[in-house]
Protein backbone atom coordinates (compact mmCIF):
# COMPACT_ATOMS: atom_id res chain seq x y z
CA UNK A 1 0.00 0.00 0.00
CA UNK A 2 1.23 3.47 -0.91
CA UNK A 3 0.67 6.17 1.67
CA UNK A 4 1.62 9.77 0.95
CA UNK A 5 1.19 12.29 3.73
CA UNK A 6 1.67 16.03 4.07
CA UNK A 7 3.43 16.21 0.73
CA UNK A 8 4.49 19.58 -0.59
CA UNK A 9 6.27 19.86 -3.91
CA UNK A 10 7.44 23.10 -5.38
CA UNK A 11 8.41 23.58 -8.99
CA UNK A 12 9.07 26.88 -10.69
CA UNK A 13 5.90 28.87 -10.12
CA UNK A 14 3.92 25.80 -9.22
CA UNK A 15 3.05 24.03 -5.98
CA UNK A 16 1.44 20.70 -5.18
CA UNK A 17 -0.16 19.93 -1.84
CA UNK A 18 -1.23 16.46 -0.86
CA UNK A 19 -2.72 16.09 2.57
CA UNK A 20 -3.14 12.32 2.32
CA UNK A 21 -3.06 9.97 -0.62
CA UNK A 22 -3.51 6.23 -0.26
CA UNK A 23 -3.34 3.64 -3.00
CA UNK A 24 -3.75 -0.09 -2.65
CA UNK A 25 -5.73 -0.92 -5.79
CA UNK A 26 -6.00 0.88 -9.09
CA UNK A 27 -6.03 4.49 -8.03
CA UNK A 28 -6.73 7.12 -10.63
CA UNK A 29 -5.40 10.66 -10.47
CA UNK A 30 -7.72 12.64 -12.69
CA UNK A 31 -7.00 16.18 -13.74
CA UNK A 32 -6.65 18.61 -16.60
CA UNK A 33 -3.34 19.37 -18.29
CA UNK A 34 -0.93 21.36 -16.16
CA UNK A 35 -2.57 20.60 -12.84
CA UNK A 36 0.40 18.66 -11.43
CA UNK A 37 -0.43 15.02 -12.17
CA UNK A 38 2.93 14.17 -13.70
CA UNK A 39 4.82 16.13 -11.06
CA UNK A 40 3.08 14.17 -8.33
CA UNK A 41 3.83 10.87 -10.07
CA UNK A 42 7.48 11.82 -10.56
CA UNK A 43 7.71 12.73 -6.89
CA UNK A 44 6.40 9.30 -5.92
CA UNK A 45 8.84 7.72 -8.40
CA UNK A 46 11.71 9.63 -6.80
CA UNK A 47 12.67 11.98 -9.62
CA UNK A 48 11.49 15.08 -7.77
CA UNK A 49 12.41 15.77 -4.18
CA UNK A 50 9.46 17.00 -2.11
CA UNK A 51 9.86 20.01 0.15
CA UNK A 52 7.84 18.36 2.88
CA UNK A 53 6.00 15.15 3.56
CA UNK A 54 6.57 11.42 3.63
CA UNK A 55 5.98 8.58 1.19
CA UNK A 56 5.55 5.05 2.53
CA UNK A 57 5.28 1.93 0.40
CA UNK A 58 4.19 -1.23 2.19
CA UNK A 59 5.46 0.20 5.46
CA UNK A 60 8.87 1.29 4.10
CA UNK A 61 9.74 4.97 4.14
CA UNK A 62 10.82 5.59 0.55
CA UNK A 63 10.80 9.40 0.69
CA UNK A 64 14.55 9.72 0.32
CA UNK A 65 15.33 6.54 -1.58
CA UNK A 66 16.64 6.78 -5.16
CA UNK A 67 14.14 5.69 -7.87
CA UNK A 68 15.92 2.38 -8.43
CA UNK A 69 15.47 1.30 -4.80
CA UNK A 70 11.77 2.08 -4.42
CA UNK A 71 10.52 -1.16 -6.01
CA UNK A 72 8.26 0.91 -8.19
CA UNK A 73 7.63 0.61 -11.90
CA UNK A 74 7.22 3.90 -13.73
CA UNK A 75 5.83 4.34 -17.21
CA UNK A 76 6.30 7.89 -18.47
CA UNK A 77 3.81 9.58 -20.76
CA UNK A 78 6.01 9.33 -23.85
CA UNK A 79 5.91 5.89 -25.44
CA UNK A 80 8.92 3.77 -24.54
CA UNK A 81 10.65 2.36 -27.57
CA UNK A 82 13.61 0.22 -26.67
CA UNK A 83 16.38 -0.05 -29.26
CA UNK A 84 16.10 -3.83 -29.52
CA UNK A 85 13.89 -6.31 -31.27
CA UNK A 86 10.97 -7.06 -28.90
CA UNK A 87 12.18 -10.57 -28.00
CA UNK A 88 15.74 -9.33 -27.45
CA UNK A 89 14.50 -6.43 -25.31
CA UNK A 90 12.63 -8.57 -22.81
CA UNK A 91 15.35 -11.21 -22.65
CA UNK A 92 18.13 -8.62 -22.33
CA UNK A 93 16.42 -6.83 -19.45
CA UNK A 94 15.40 -10.13 -17.84
CA UNK A 95 19.06 -11.12 -17.92
CA UNK A 96 20.03 -7.86 -16.22
CA UNK A 97 17.51 -8.48 -13.44
CA UNK A 98 18.31 -12.20 -13.34
CA UNK A 99 14.59 -12.81 -13.86
CA UNK A 100 12.77 -15.49 -15.80
CA UNK A 101 10.81 -13.69 -18.53
CA UNK A 102 8.54 -16.65 -19.26
CA UNK A 103 5.89 -16.02 -16.56
CA UNK A 104 5.59 -12.40 -17.69
CA UNK A 105 5.42 -13.42 -21.35
CA UNK A 106 2.59 -15.78 -20.50
CA UNK A 107 0.77 -13.42 -18.18
CA UNK A 108 0.88 -10.58 -20.69
CA UNK A 109 0.22 -12.87 -23.68
CA UNK A 110 3.29 -11.50 -25.42
CA UNK A 111 4.05 -14.34 -27.82
CA UNK A 112 2.58 -12.58 -30.84
CA UNK A 113 4.27 -9.28 -30.01
CA UNK A 114 7.63 -10.98 -29.50
CA UNK A 115 7.50 -12.51 -32.96
CA UNK A 116 7.45 -9.07 -34.55
CA UNK A 117 10.47 -7.04 -35.66
CA UNK A 118 8.88 -3.64 -35.10
CA UNK A 119 6.05 -2.68 -32.79
CA UNK A 120 3.22 -0.22 -33.00
CA UNK A 121 2.96 2.35 -30.20
CA UNK A 122 0.31 0.27 -28.44
CA UNK A 123 2.39 -2.88 -28.61
CA UNK A 124 5.47 -0.99 -27.46
CA UNK A 125 3.51 0.22 -24.43
CA UNK A 126 2.45 -3.35 -23.58
CA UNK A 127 6.06 -4.52 -23.93
CA UNK A 128 7.26 -1.68 -21.70
CA UNK A 129 4.65 -2.58 -19.10
CA UNK A 130 5.75 -6.22 -19.28
CA UNK A 131 9.36 -5.22 -18.72
CA UNK A 132 8.29 -3.36 -15.58
CA UNK A 133 6.80 -6.61 -14.33
CA UNK A 134 10.10 -8.47 -14.72
CA UNK A 135 11.25 -6.96 -11.48
CA UNK A 136 9.58 -7.44 -8.16
CA UNK A 137 7.42 -4.35 -8.38
CA UNK A 138 5.23 -3.32 -5.46
CA UNK A 139 3.54 -0.45 -7.24
CA UNK A 140 3.09 0.71 -10.81
CA UNK A 141 2.96 4.36 -11.75
CA UNK A 142 1.41 4.95 -15.14
CA UNK A 143 1.42 8.44 -16.60
CA UNK A 144 -1.31 8.75 -19.22
CA UNK A 145 -0.26 5.43 -20.74
CA UNK A 146 -2.87 5.52 -23.48
CA UNK A 147 -2.34 9.12 -24.56
CA UNK A 148 -0.79 8.05 -27.86
CA UNK A 149 -3.00 5.02 -28.45
CA UNK A 150 -6.11 4.82 -30.57
CA UNK A 151 -9.40 3.85 -28.97
CA UNK A 152 -9.34 0.05 -29.53
CA UNK A 153 -5.75 -0.15 -28.30
CA UNK A 154 -6.66 1.94 -25.28
CA UNK A 155 -9.54 -0.42 -24.51
CA UNK A 156 -7.20 -3.43 -24.77
CA UNK A 157 -4.69 -1.71 -22.53
CA UNK A 158 -7.36 -0.95 -19.92
CA UNK A 159 -8.51 -4.54 -19.81
CA UNK A 160 -4.89 -5.72 -19.52
CA UNK A 161 -4.31 -3.31 -16.66
CA UNK A 162 -7.42 -4.56 -14.85
CA UNK A 163 -6.19 -8.14 -15.14
CA UNK A 164 -2.79 -7.47 -13.56
CA UNK A 165 -3.89 -7.28 -9.95
CA UNK A 166 -1.01 -5.01 -8.93
CA UNK A 167 -1.51 -1.77 -6.99
CA UNK A 168 -1.05 1.15 -9.29
CA UNK A 169 -1.42 4.88 -9.57
CA UNK A 170 -2.85 5.70 -12.97
CA UNK A 171 -2.83 9.26 -14.21
CA UNK A 172 -5.29 10.44 -16.81
CA UNK A 173 -7.20 13.51 -17.94
CA UNK A 174 -9.94 11.34 -19.45
CA UNK A 175 -12.99 10.78 -17.19
CA UNK A 176 -14.18 7.78 -19.27
CA UNK A 177 -10.78 6.14 -18.88
CA UNK A 178 -10.83 6.93 -15.15
CA UNK A 179 -14.23 5.34 -14.78
CA UNK A 180 -13.35 2.31 -16.90
CA UNK A 181 -10.05 1.51 -15.19
CA UNK A 182 -10.02 2.81 -11.64
CA UNK A 183 -11.20 1.39 -8.35
CA UNK A 184 -10.98 4.79 -6.74
CA UNK A 185 -10.37 8.26 -8.06
CA UNK A 186 -8.52 11.29 -6.78
CA UNK A 187 -9.00 14.61 -8.52
CA UNK A 188 -6.20 17.14 -8.81
CA UNK A 189 -6.91 20.79 -9.45
CA UNK A 190 -4.31 23.56 -9.35
CA UNK A 191 -1.92 21.32 -7.45
CA UNK A 192 -4.44 20.33 -4.77
CA UNK A 193 -5.43 16.68 -4.54
CA UNK A 194 -8.92 15.74 -3.40
CA UNK A 195 -10.32 12.28 -2.76
CA UNK A 196 -10.58 9.36 -2.69
CA UNK A 197 -13.86 8.98 -4.49
CA UNK A 198 -15.14 5.48 -4.98
CA UNK A 199 -15.63 4.67 -8.65
CA UNK A 200 -19.34 3.99 -8.95
CA UNK A 201 -19.37 4.51 -12.70
CA UNK A 202 -17.46 1.39 -13.73
CA UNK A 203 -20.41 -0.52 -15.23
CA UNK A 204 -21.66 2.59 -17.00
CA UNK A 205 -18.18 3.28 -18.36
CA UNK A 206 -17.77 -0.30 -19.52
CA UNK A 207 -21.11 -0.11 -21.26
CA UNK A 208 -20.12 3.18 -22.89
CA UNK A 209 -16.75 1.80 -23.98
CA UNK A 210 -18.41 -1.27 -25.45
CA UNK A 211 -20.85 0.92 -27.37
CA UNK A 212 -18.19 3.31 -28.57
CA UNK A 213 -15.72 0.67 -29.64
CA UNK A 214 -16.83 0.97 -33.23
CA UNK A 215 -13.68 -0.59 -34.56
CA UNK A 216 -14.37 -3.77 -32.67
CA UNK A 217 -17.95 -4.02 -33.87
CA UNK A 218 -17.02 -2.93 -37.38
CA UNK A 219 -19.98 -0.58 -37.35
CA UNK A 220 -18.99 2.47 -39.27
CA UNK A 221 -22.26 4.34 -39.02
CA UNK A 222 -22.73 6.56 -36.04
CA UNK A 223 -26.34 6.48 -34.99
Amino acid sequence: MLVVEGLEVERTGFRINVERFVSSKITIILGCNGTGKTTLLKTIAGFIKPRKGVIHLNGRDITNLPPSERRIGYMPQQPIKLPYKPRDAIHYLAKIFRADPQPVIEKMRLEQILRKEKLSTGEAQILALSILLLRKTELLLLDEPTSSLDFPNSVNFWSLIRSLNIPMVYVTHNPVEAAAVGDEVYVIEDGVLRGPFENKLRSKAEELVETLNLYKNRVWVLE
Partner: protein, 231 residues
Protein backbone atom coordinates in the same frame (compact mmCIF):
# COMPACT_ATOMS: atom_id res chain seq x y z
CA UNK B 1 8.04 26.47 -61.78
CA UNK B 2 6.67 24.14 -59.15
CA UNK B 3 8.21 25.54 -56.01
CA UNK B 4 10.16 28.79 -56.48
CA UNK B 5 11.59 28.62 -52.95
CA UNK B 6 13.11 25.20 -53.63
CA UNK B 7 14.75 26.53 -56.79
CA UNK B 8 16.12 29.56 -54.94
CA UNK B 9 17.63 27.34 -52.22
CA UNK B 10 19.14 24.99 -54.80
CA UNK B 11 20.53 27.92 -56.78
CA UNK B 12 22.04 29.40 -53.61
CA UNK B 13 23.78 26.09 -52.84
CA UNK B 14 25.15 25.83 -56.38
CA UNK B 15 26.29 29.48 -56.25
CA UNK B 16 28.09 28.81 -52.99
CA UNK B 17 30.01 25.90 -54.49
CA UNK B 18 30.66 27.90 -57.68
CA UNK B 19 32.03 30.90 -55.77
CA UNK B 20 34.38 28.58 -53.89
CA UNK B 21 35.58 26.34 -56.69
CA UNK B 22 35.31 28.17 -60.01
CA UNK B 23 37.74 31.09 -59.52
CA UNK B 24 40.70 28.91 -58.48
CA UNK B 25 39.93 26.36 -61.17
CA UNK B 26 39.57 29.03 -63.88
CA UNK B 27 42.21 31.56 -62.96
CA UNK B 28 44.88 29.68 -61.02
CA UNK B 29 47.78 27.70 -62.35
CA UNK B 30 47.26 24.39 -60.62
CA UNK B 31 50.58 22.89 -59.65
CA UNK B 32 50.49 20.39 -56.84
CA UNK B 33 52.94 20.78 -53.98
CA UNK B 34 55.72 18.15 -53.93
CA UNK B 35 54.03 15.99 -51.26
CA UNK B 36 50.37 16.84 -51.08
CA UNK B 37 49.08 13.82 -49.20
CA UNK B 38 51.34 13.03 -46.21
CA UNK B 39 49.99 15.89 -44.18
CA UNK B 40 46.40 14.97 -45.06
CA UNK B 41 46.93 11.35 -44.01
CA UNK B 42 48.73 12.33 -40.81
CA UNK B 43 46.05 14.87 -39.92
CA UNK B 44 43.32 12.32 -40.62
CA UNK B 45 45.06 9.81 -38.34
CA UNK B 46 45.51 12.38 -35.57
CA UNK B 47 41.87 13.45 -35.93
CA UNK B 48 40.78 9.81 -35.71
CA UNK B 49 42.77 9.19 -32.53
CA UNK B 50 41.55 12.46 -31.00
CA UNK B 51 37.91 11.68 -31.86
CA UNK B 52 38.17 8.11 -30.55
CA UNK B 53 39.60 9.38 -27.26
CA UNK B 54 37.19 12.29 -26.84
CA UNK B 55 34.04 10.53 -28.03
CA UNK B 56 33.33 8.49 -24.85
CA UNK B 57 33.61 11.70 -22.84
CA UNK B 58 31.30 13.45 -25.30
CA UNK B 59 28.75 10.63 -24.91
CA UNK B 60 28.93 10.78 -21.12
CA UNK B 61 28.58 14.56 -21.01
CA UNK B 62 25.93 14.57 -23.76
CA UNK B 63 23.87 12.03 -21.82
CA UNK B 64 24.05 13.99 -18.57
CA UNK B 65 23.31 17.27 -20.35
CA UNK B 66 20.31 15.78 -22.10
CA UNK B 67 18.88 13.33 -19.57
CA UNK B 68 19.86 14.62 -16.17
CA UNK B 69 19.29 18.33 -16.56
CA UNK B 70 22.96 19.28 -16.62
CA UNK B 71 22.46 21.66 -19.54
CA UNK B 72 24.21 24.23 -17.38
CA UNK B 73 27.57 22.73 -18.36
CA UNK B 74 26.95 23.35 -22.08
CA UNK B 75 27.84 27.06 -22.10
CA UNK B 76 31.08 26.22 -20.30
CA UNK B 77 31.99 23.92 -23.18
CA UNK B 78 30.36 25.66 -26.12
CA UNK B 79 32.16 28.96 -25.53
CA UNK B 80 35.16 27.29 -27.13
CA UNK B 81 33.32 27.21 -30.45
CA UNK B 82 32.66 30.94 -30.29
CA UNK B 83 36.22 32.22 -29.96
CA UNK B 84 39.13 32.20 -32.42
CA UNK B 85 40.93 28.96 -31.75
CA UNK B 86 44.23 30.80 -31.75
CA UNK B 87 43.12 31.89 -28.26
CA UNK B 88 42.68 28.25 -27.24
CA UNK B 89 46.15 27.47 -28.57
CA UNK B 90 47.59 30.34 -26.57
CA UNK B 91 45.73 29.23 -23.44
CA UNK B 92 46.97 25.64 -23.55
CA UNK B 93 50.48 26.64 -24.57
CA UNK B 94 51.85 27.15 -21.02
CA UNK B 95 50.65 23.68 -20.05
CA UNK B 96 52.10 22.10 -23.18
CA UNK B 97 55.39 23.93 -22.57
CA UNK B 98 55.47 22.58 -19.01
CA UNK B 99 54.77 19.08 -20.31
CA UNK B 100 57.36 19.57 -23.02
CA UNK B 101 55.01 18.40 -25.77
CA UNK B 102 54.92 21.51 -27.97
CA UNK B 103 55.48 20.62 -31.63
CA UNK B 104 54.61 16.96 -31.19
CA UNK B 105 51.76 14.79 -32.44
CA UNK B 106 50.64 14.44 -28.81
CA UNK B 107 50.06 18.20 -28.70
CA UNK B 108 48.13 17.96 -31.97
CA UNK B 109 45.90 15.17 -30.65
CA UNK B 110 45.20 16.84 -27.30
CA UNK B 111 44.38 20.12 -29.04
CA UNK B 112 42.08 18.34 -31.48
CA UNK B 113 40.32 16.68 -28.54
CA UNK B 114 39.82 20.04 -26.85
CA UNK B 115 38.35 21.72 -29.93
CA UNK B 116 36.13 18.82 -31.02
CA UNK B 117 34.68 17.89 -27.61
CA UNK B 118 32.08 20.70 -27.40
CA UNK B 119 30.70 19.82 -30.81
CA UNK B 120 30.48 16.15 -29.80
CA UNK B 121 28.68 16.92 -26.54
CA UNK B 122 26.17 19.21 -28.27
CA UNK B 123 25.57 16.70 -31.01
CA UNK B 124 25.09 13.70 -28.68
CA UNK B 125 22.82 15.78 -26.43
CA UNK B 126 20.60 16.83 -29.32
CA UNK B 127 20.66 13.30 -30.77
CA UNK B 128 19.37 11.94 -27.50
CA UNK B 129 16.86 14.68 -26.80
CA UNK B 130 14.05 12.98 -28.74
CA UNK B 131 13.76 9.97 -26.44
CA UNK B 132 16.10 10.43 -23.58
CA UNK B 133 13.94 11.68 -20.72
CA UNK B 134 11.23 9.02 -20.82
CA UNK B 135 13.62 6.16 -21.54
CA UNK B 136 16.03 7.27 -18.83
CA UNK B 137 13.26 7.49 -16.24
CA UNK B 138 11.88 4.13 -17.29
CA UNK B 139 15.29 2.46 -17.02
CA UNK B 140 16.38 4.28 -13.86
CA UNK B 141 13.32 3.16 -11.91
CA UNK B 142 13.94 -0.38 -13.12
CA UNK B 143 17.38 -0.14 -11.55
CA UNK B 144 19.35 -0.49 -14.78
CA UNK B 145 22.94 0.51 -14.04
CA UNK B 146 24.28 3.85 -15.22
CA UNK B 147 26.69 2.60 -17.89
CA UNK B 148 24.17 0.12 -19.24
CA UNK B 149 21.59 2.90 -19.31
CA UNK B 150 23.94 5.07 -21.39
CA UNK B 151 24.66 2.11 -23.69
CA UNK B 152 20.92 1.55 -24.30
CA UNK B 153 20.56 5.25 -25.06
CA UNK B 154 23.44 5.07 -27.53
CA UNK B 155 21.67 2.22 -29.27
CA UNK B 156 18.46 4.25 -29.26
CA UNK B 157 20.31 7.01 -31.11
CA UNK B 158 20.73 4.64 -34.05
CA UNK B 159 23.28 6.05 -36.46
CA UNK B 160 23.13 9.37 -34.62
CA UNK B 161 26.21 8.36 -32.66
CA UNK B 162 28.12 7.97 -35.95
CA UNK B 163 27.00 11.45 -36.98
CA UNK B 164 28.28 12.85 -33.67
CA UNK B 165 31.58 11.01 -34.09
CA UNK B 166 32.01 12.26 -37.66
CA UNK B 167 31.24 15.84 -36.66
CA UNK B 168 33.95 15.59 -34.01
CA UNK B 169 36.35 14.12 -36.54
CA UNK B 170 35.67 16.85 -39.09
CA UNK B 171 36.14 19.51 -36.44
CA UNK B 172 39.44 17.97 -35.34
CA UNK B 173 40.61 17.57 -38.94
CA UNK B 174 39.85 21.17 -39.86
CA UNK B 175 41.54 22.79 -36.85
CA UNK B 176 44.09 25.48 -37.65
CA UNK B 177 44.25 28.35 -35.14
CA UNK B 178 45.20 26.38 -32.05
CA UNK B 179 47.56 24.08 -33.96
CA UNK B 180 49.45 27.03 -35.43
CA UNK B 181 50.41 27.90 -31.86
CA UNK B 182 51.06 24.49 -30.30
CA UNK B 183 52.39 22.55 -33.27
CA UNK B 184 53.79 24.24 -36.33
CA UNK B 185 55.88 21.13 -36.81
CA UNK B 186 54.76 18.41 -37.42
CA UNK B 187 52.37 20.23 -39.66
CA UNK B 188 48.75 19.34 -40.06
CA UNK B 189 46.63 20.11 -43.14
CA UNK B 190 45.74 23.64 -42.06
CA UNK B 191 49.25 24.53 -41.00
CA UNK B 192 50.76 23.03 -44.15
CA UNK B 193 48.38 25.03 -46.34
CA UNK B 194 49.14 28.17 -44.38
CA UNK B 195 52.88 27.59 -44.80
CA UNK B 196 52.52 26.92 -48.53
CA UNK B 197 50.73 30.24 -48.87
CA UNK B 198 53.35 32.09 -46.86
CA UNK B 199 56.28 30.69 -48.82
CA UNK B 200 54.87 30.17 -52.31
CA UNK B 201 51.83 32.42 -52.42
CA UNK B 202 48.41 31.54 -53.77
CA UNK B 203 49.87 29.62 -56.68
CA UNK B 204 51.40 27.06 -54.32
CA UNK B 205 48.55 26.89 -51.82
CA UNK B 206 45.37 27.03 -53.93
CA UNK B 207 45.68 23.55 -55.50
CA UNK B 208 46.09 22.13 -52.05
CA UNK B 209 43.02 24.05 -50.86
CA UNK B 210 41.04 22.50 -53.71
CA UNK B 211 42.10 18.98 -52.65
CA UNK B 212 41.12 19.67 -49.03
CA UNK B 213 37.81 21.26 -49.99
CA UNK B 214 36.96 18.31 -52.24
CA UNK B 215 37.84 15.92 -49.43
CA UNK B 216 35.59 17.95 -47.11
CA UNK B 217 32.73 17.67 -49.58
CA UNK B 218 33.15 13.90 -49.74
CA UNK B 219 33.02 13.62 -45.93
CA UNK B 220 30.05 15.98 -45.74
CA UNK B 221 28.28 13.80 -48.29
CA UNK B 222 29.04 10.76 -46.17
CA UNK B 223 27.72 12.54 -43.09
CA UNK B 224 24.53 13.41 -44.96
CA UNK B 225 24.04 9.78 -46.03
CA UNK B 226 24.51 8.54 -42.46
CA UNK B 227 22.06 11.13 -41.10
CA UNK B 228 19.55 10.30 -43.81
CA UNK B 229 19.77 6.58 -43.03
CA UNK B 230 18.60 7.14 -39.50
CA UNK B 231 21.01 9.30 -37.58
Amino acid sequence: MKNPLKIIVLAAAIMYIAVLFLPPLLYQRLTLPPDPYTSIVNTALAASIASLLAFPLAVLLGFYVSARGLAVVLPFLMFATAIPHTAIGLMVLPLFLALNIVDTWLAVIITMMIVSLPLGVGSVASGLSATVKALDEFLSVLGVGELRNIWIHMRAMGLGWAVSFMLMWLRAFSELGALLIVSYRPSTVGVYMFELFQTGGAEAAVPYAIIVATLGMVFSGLLYIISWRGG
